[in-house]
Symmetry: C2
Subunit: 193 residues, 2 copies
Amino acid sequence: MNFLEERIVKDGIIKEGNVLKVDSFLNHQMDIALFEQIGEEFKRRFSQEKIDKILTIEASGIGIACVVARYFQVPVVFAKKSESVNIDGEMYIAEVESFTHKRKNQVIVSKKFLSSGENILLIDDFLANGCALQGLISIVTEAGANVAGIGIAIEKGFQVGGRMIRNLGYHLESLAIIDEMDAATGKFTFREV
Amino acid sequence: MNFLEERIVKDGIIKEGNVLKVDSFLNHQMDIALFEQIGEEFKRRFSQEKIDKILTIEASGIGIACVVARYFQVPVVFAKKSESVNIDGEMYIAEVESFTHKRKNQVIVSKKFLSSGENILLIDDFLANGCALQGLISIVTEAGANVAGIGIAIEKGFQVGGRMIRNLGYHLESLAIIDEMDAATGKFTFREV
């Protein structure tokens, strides 16, 4: 097990319905020393890629992205989520439909902060069905920029997002891929990569 | 002028109605090297305070808080904003009324992540009327924890938030206090501290 898998085993809580609570270290309370380990590991895994900028999505992606950015020495842009149209200058807007909630959400980035030809590293805390990520990829593509890589802390390997993103040919690195988790026993099965 | 005031003069855009756009470096695109300078400066200004944890609020406070946290070697907790009640376990909930929008919002933190007796540094990107900050202070107080300090990047000195927080006796440090800004000329007047 790597450092993140160990932490999930130690502090992650499995709830009924394949819900994983990691709010004590990842997405409500945030362990900055852990985020630094995540940053180092992404830097290693994406060492062959040229990265000009990191793009993430509010809210829980922002903390990881900002700590990871230090290892790449690049700025971070975070996409905003909105349920309604929000016109303030020129925006890239991707409409994404949530698989779980059947709700349509918008992912919004100002056109000023994504330029044609830029190499973008997408960072997020979680990948499950991949709806947020689909919105980010759509926006990067619309901007004429390049998805140089996708770095995820925890992937729920039993949901479709990761497979779909890999099938599309993107360089996706998930630091912990959970293939199974059992609320009754509290046991995790991680994918061997 | 300090480093942040210089950056505001260089890249901040004043819009009619006392609106300041700093989205190219602070709260949409984020300059991580600048956030590191902010972290160093807060560490210097709060060097006399014992800090156990940083508390901020989504979304734009998170990035600064996570970079600042490295200088204090403490975890970060971010409060969630919600327009409706959101019961998931035991939460501290502060109801705050926006001065500008007359709307009631809730500021929410899980009880697990704030403990009695902890020394909390509040961090946010902006202070104007101080509604978000009032919610955070209310929650820290309710938890029996101590507001050890409040670090703000940009304070709009012509709005009431800063004066009110100082009147209440809190140790508030704003790195740039704008006393006047003029949309017609683009000129800023910073408070000499």
